[in-house]
């Protein structure tokens, strides 16, 4: 036991010296999440607002102009291109000059009076994210707008405001919770981005370590020492854990300080669960590393994993709508659980009583991958 600790410590010392000596890589690992965080956050933020919008206003009255103005004010639509007909709107989208289109029928004002006004909103279906957000935004705007219309009408007619307001305001609130762009945007994205960046760091870094030794030939020289596979694995993971913890703190700090993301839950709970997630990610990275023969193979596997991670773990696309098989693939990636945990703690402020399922799975996951990694990592070269 004492011998084992000595060996492990000797290896950790070696890994630390090597990590610190390679300060360029170290700096990159520390700077990457900061840079990525900004790019990601702003890109995701800009992705769906200020959509160039073609407008065919065939009504051309105060009501239709007020509606278009409401669309503009929302920030989602840039209604700058005015055309004549529905066909023109579709042509504009086909030519990719517009991402969305609004068609207001000729008798809009009259229909608003009657209460059955209809507006056609067209989206470029090739951009599902734009459709999703645009659709929600448009219907939210339409509803809010009609509520406002209703209220102003009620005011004009001199009806009892209190009675109407009491009925209308709850609707207003429920709309806000579901469709408020702030809710859908950064506050929700930042925990997800943190999860994805941590995954990228853990798998990306660790997947290279064993293969690199193998490729450099240093593995043979290390294997000939009495070091046991588990000792080697632990010492490989240690420095990476420390670096990744530093990155986690950075990411959360940027989210809270720069992007004003409120941290609603317990910081300590988040810290412990992040550590758990980091360990599971490192384990997965090691597994990739031990099954790969070359650094190139390891990179390829990591790249595929990252693509799957962004698509299947619920970062951008809701997992509910995925077919069961695809969802099952997502279940194999630890980010899936950590995104729920991170969003739960940071955004919703919930605790273990809500998250225990994900936590249990993550614990089992971490144990399984690390055991698998040390089993695959043999004490021999073949």
């Amino acid at each position: 036991m004492q011998k084992s600790l000595r060996r492990t410590f000797a290896f950790i010392r070696k890994e630390m010296i090597q990590s610190l000596r390679d300060w360029r890589t170290l700096l990159m690992i520390l700077a990457m999440p900061v840079i990525m965080m900004f790019f990601f956050a702003y890109a995701v933020n800009l992705l769906v607002d200020h959509m160039p919008t073609a407008v065919a206003d065939m009504s051309r009255d105060d009501e239709s102009r007020a509606f278009i103005e409401a669309l503009e004010i929302s920030g989602y639509f840039d209604a700058k291109m005015y055309v004549e007909s529905e066909e023109d709107v579709i042509r504009m989208i086909d030519e990719e000059r517009a991402k969305a289109g609004v068609v207001i029928p000729p008798d809009f004002a009259a229909r608003v009076e009657r209460g059955d006004a209809q507006v056609l909103i067209v989206f470029d279906g090739s951009e599902s994210l734009a459709v999703q957000t645009g659709y929600s935004a448009a219907s939210a705007i339409a509803q809010t707008h009609s509520v406002e219309l209703l209220m102003s009408k009620a005011g004009q007619m001199g009806a009892a405001l209190g009675a109407l307001g009491g009925g209308a305001l709850p609707i207003d609130t429920s709309i806000r919770v579901l469709y408020n762009p702030d809710m859908d945007g950064l506050v929700f994205m930042v925990p997800g981005i943190a999860a994805i960046l941590l995954q990228l760091l853990t798998i990306g870094q660790v997947s290279m370590v064993v293969v690199r030794e193998r490729e450099l030939g240093t593995l043979e020289q290390l294997l000939i020492t009495p070091v046991r596979p588990l000792e080697l694995i632990i010492s490989k993971v240690m420095p990476n854990i420390i670096i990744t913890i530093a990155d986690t703190v950075l990411i959360v700090l940027i989210g809270v300080v720069w992007f004003d993301v409120p941290f609603r839950g317990s910081i300590w709970l988040f810290a412990w669960l992040s550590l758990l997630f980091i360990v599971s990610g490192l384990g997965l990275g090691l597994l990739v590393s031990t099954v790969s023969q070359t650094q190139k193979q390891a990179q390829q596997i990591t790249a595929v994993l990252m693509v799957l991670t962004t698509m299947l773990t619920g970062l951008f696309y809701p997992r509910l709508t995925m077919p069961p098989v695809v969802r099952a693939v997502g279940d194999l990636i630890p980010v899936t659980y950590f995104i729920r945990i991170a969003r739960g703690i940071i955004t919703k402020g919930v605790g273990l009583s809500f998250l225990w399922r994900d936590v249990v799975i993550l614990v089992i996951y971490a144990i399984v991958v690390i055991v698998l990694a040390s089993l695959t990592f043999r004490r021999r070269l073949d």
Binding site: K3, R6, R7, F9, A10, F11, R13, K14, I17, Q18, R21, D22, L216, G217, T218, L219, E220, Q221, L223, I224, T225, P226, V227, R228, R379, R380, L381, D382
Partner: protein, 325 residues
């Protein structure tokens, strides 16, 4: 198991599965290295020297046969072996981003050498390897010869009884090579270290007191260098013909010529009777208008013995295949 045997292998087989089928990189090797001996496993590239060494060390799985070091089985007692053996892999493979001192201390720590022992041994080994002035230099910034010396020093830090060196002088200049071998000689004399060396260099084989000649996964000879050199047929004549190619074609057909090897611009001809055949060869070549320069009898060296053994081996194999067809 005899206490005097340091390394032992019997009918050792290592089979690699490749896409085109199985390849026996080591095909029934039997060898024995006695304690305190310097054993040279020699053979051309791809003969199976590295694979043999790795299997004996337990770095590769054994397909069949037996192998052990100091009585410890290569496969089952892997860690006992690793605590008692030093090894230098063929590719220089110490972490290049650690300094000389850090490398030494790392290997000492991993092998469980106490700090007190380290304070005594490390300066001694660095001094012995001539690296005392370079303790703060990074491994990657050492010259080829210095890297090998550092590797040797690291592999000795836990005072092993046996060291296995896989082509330790590959890519090292002749002066450093000589220095390295002098170090090995001192180790053997002072500490009674058992040394097992893989090498393609015949001059290094001459420095061993026992050699195994490996070719295509098999040991074709296993004896002292003197005995191996006597295994060549007949006696050896050396000369420089004025017209190389016709001479090289003509001589094998002459009476009493057993084998012809080329050696730069010279020919090495094995004959049954050097004094008689010498004149016959000169006459036969003169008839073709070819003169011979510097014709003399020389002692066959390992190089000639090795080539001769391998050529006979491959000839035998070709005959076997012909018979089989």
């Amino acid at each position: 198991m005899n206490d005097q045997v340091a390394i032992f292998a019997k009918d050792l087989v290592k089979r690699f599965k490749t896409r085109s089928g199985a390849v026996d990189a080591v095909n029934g090797v039997t060898l024995q290295v006695r304690r305190g001996e310097t054993y040279g496993l020699i053979g051309p590239d791809g003969a199976g020297k590295t694979t043999t060494t790795r299997v004996i060390l337990g770095l590769l799985k054994r397909t069949a046969g037996k192998s052990s070091i100091l009585g410890y089985d290569s496969m089952h007692d892997t860690y006992e072996i690793r605590e008692r053996v030093g090894y230098i892999a063929q590719q220089f493979a110490l972490p290049g981003d650690l300094t000389v001192m850090e490398n030494m201390r790392f290997f000492a720590d991993v092998q469980g050498v106490s700090r007190d022992e380290q304070r005594r041994r490390i300066p001694e080994l660095l001094d012995f390897a001539g690296l005392s002035d370079f303790t703060n230099r990074l491994g990657s910034q050492l010259s080829g010869g210095m890297k090998k010396k550092l590797a040797l020093a690291c592999s000795l830090v836990h005072e092993p009884q046996v060291v296995l060196l896989d082509e330790p002088t590959l890519g090292v200049d002749p002066v450093s090579r000589r220095e390295f071998w002098n170090l090995l000689g001192n180790l053997r004399a002072e500490k009674g270290l058992t040394i097992f060396v893989c090498t393609p260099y015949m001059d290094e084989a001459e420095r061993c007191n026992w050699v195994g000649l490996m070719y295509q996964g098999k040991l074709v000879a296993h004896d002292s260098p003197e005995t191996v050199k006597k295994m060549v047929p007949g006696r050896l004549l050396e000369f420089t013909p004025s017209n190389f190619v016709p001479a090289w074609r003509l001589i094998p057909g002459l009476d009493g010529v057993l084998e012809v090897q080329t050696y730069g611009a010279m020919l090495h001809v094995f004959v049954d009777d050097p004094d008689g055949r010498r004149n016959e060869i000169e006459h036969a070549l003169a008839a073709q208008g070819i003169t011979c320069e510097g014709m003399r009898e020389i002692e066959p060296r390992m190089e000639e013995a090795f080539i001769s053994l391998i050529e006979r081996q491959s000839g035998r194999q070709m005959e076997e295949t012909r018979d089989a067809v």
